[in-house]
Amino acid sequence: MGDSAFAVRRWSPTEERRPGIPFVISENDPILEARDISRRRNGPEGWLIHQVRCRFWEGDRVAITGPSGAGKTVLLRSLALLDPLDEGAIHWRGQAVWGEAVPAFRTQVVYVHQRPALFEGNVRENLRLPFGLKRRQGRRFDEARAVDLLEHLGRDASFLEKEQRELSGGEAQIMALTRVLLLDPTILLLDEPTSSLDQATAHSVETLLGRWHLEGSGSRVLVWVTHDPRQAERVSNRRLVVTSGTVTAEVTPE
């Protein structure tokens, strides 16, 4: 960790588990917490992630960095409970999440895949799709807001009519981010969201997500997996470094 603006803090497994550590933003309990979660490798012996503990507080902006194959995506997916855990649990506002609570939890904690999935139809139909889900009843698709978000990403209303199979990789990501922002989650788990975008669009995505974070008046949480240290610096106020399946360091600005 050569960045002078960051103080490196080695993670010690014997450390007492309480939020008394310097990067605490709120004195309250964490909103999302991974308690010693592990996921076994599929096939050969070993772990994809092992005994990972991390906490997210309201207003947090966290970057997850580390070498390829270290388990960043696995960690992010596990935080959204998309894969079965072999050990540990995910806690939401102090309570372990499991069973029938999971879909409702995922309306609050949304994982955005690195390569977005598209559904049959045009962009509008893709944006509207989640509003048809049972756990989102009572919410309505707001087209004006969709157009507003798209305009911030350099697209206009005609983009809504574009067929999904005509979208480029970058456009698909723009659609996916718009789709998720329309749903007003509390926590966004972004898996290298700008890797398929050109630099200009990547910057507008950063700006848009930063604005989304601010608009939450301190309650929204952004978690980014990124390879780009400068992006990590721009988008986060603390950093988790993942190496060979564990959080090996916490990096916080001094």
Partner: protein, 266 residues
């Protein structure tokens, strides 16, 4: 009592068997290299049919419920296994799921037919129970294997969509709905198609058999109608059952898609 149909002598059967020479000649003329396989297939046909003929003869003569039951059980197990063997996809418990689905659906429908519709006395009369179950099984097996195959390929091809739905807050049922619908639809198509063309394009085997045995055409048709509906309901039940059982194994109670448990056999 003189039977109302022409009995075949072994000489006549042998004459028919000579027709295989036509296939052999074609294979030779076009250099298809099928000679060996043709010969094996012809021998298999004769051996398997003679064997089952002897077994059935024995069961028919014995006329006891346990013998009929035993035969039905073996037929069901073979069908349940064959349904899986035909698909390249493997998921946990797939063999058991297939056998349970084929067994419960075909036996339920066969029971309805024997007890509720035909009122066969006694119910285990082998010349009703065995062919009835056989026809239902044959079609259910087809439907189940098509349904399994489609479910596997849908989940393989659309893993990203299924996961995206889950990530957006869908329940496991909402996330799997499309693949499930596609699988059930695909499994049911052959039966529905058969019902559309029955009697026009094809004369079903059972009806043909009855006609050859001297049954009046209208009587044979009545039987065939009953059979068609038995087949279609048995197939539908079997497919829905196997697809739902597989779904339960691939999507857990935490609404997670266990895609790693789904494998494609090469």
């Amino acid at each position: 009592m003189k039977p109302s149909y022409l009995q075949l002598s072994y000489l006549q059967v042998g004459l028919a068997a000579l027709l295989i020479l036509i296939n052999g000649a074609i294979s030779l003329a076009l250099r298809l290299g099928l000679g060996r396989r043709l010969l094996l297939a012809a021998i298999a046909t004769v051996v398997q049919l003679v064997f089952i003929g002897l077994v059935l003869q024995w069961v028919f003569r014995l006329n006891r419920w346990y013998a009929v039951f035993g035969i039905m059980l073996v037929m069901t197990l073979v069908a349940g296994n064959a349904a899986v063997a035909r698909t390249p996809f493997r998921s946990p418990g797939i063999w058991l799921n297939s056998i349970v689905s084929v067994w419960s659906s075909s036996w339920l429908v066969a029971a309805i037919a024997l007890f509720g519709i035909l009122h066969v006395e006694p119910w285990y009369s082998p010349h009703y129970a065995i062919p009835l179950l056989g026809m239902i099984l044959g079609n259910t097996l087809n439907g189940v294997s098509l349904g399994l195959d489609r479910l596997g390929s849908e989940l393989f091809a659309h893993r990203a969509q299924v996961e995206a739905l889950l990530a957006l807050g869908a329940t496991r049922w909402e996330a799997a709905q499309r693949p499930i619908q596609e699988a059930v639809r695909t499994g049911m198509v052959p039966t529905i198609n058969a019902m559309m063309v029955v009697g026009i394009v094809s004369l079903p085997g059972m009806m043909t058999g009855q006609l050859l045995a001297g049954v009046a055409p209208v009587e044979a048709v009545k039987y065939q109608i009953v059979i068609m509906f038995l087949i279609s309901s048995g197939t539908a039940l079997g497919i829905v059952s196997v697809v739902l059982l597989t779904y339960r194994r691939l999507f857990n109670k935490n609404h997670q898609f266990l895609y790693q448990q789904l494998r494609e056999r090469h």
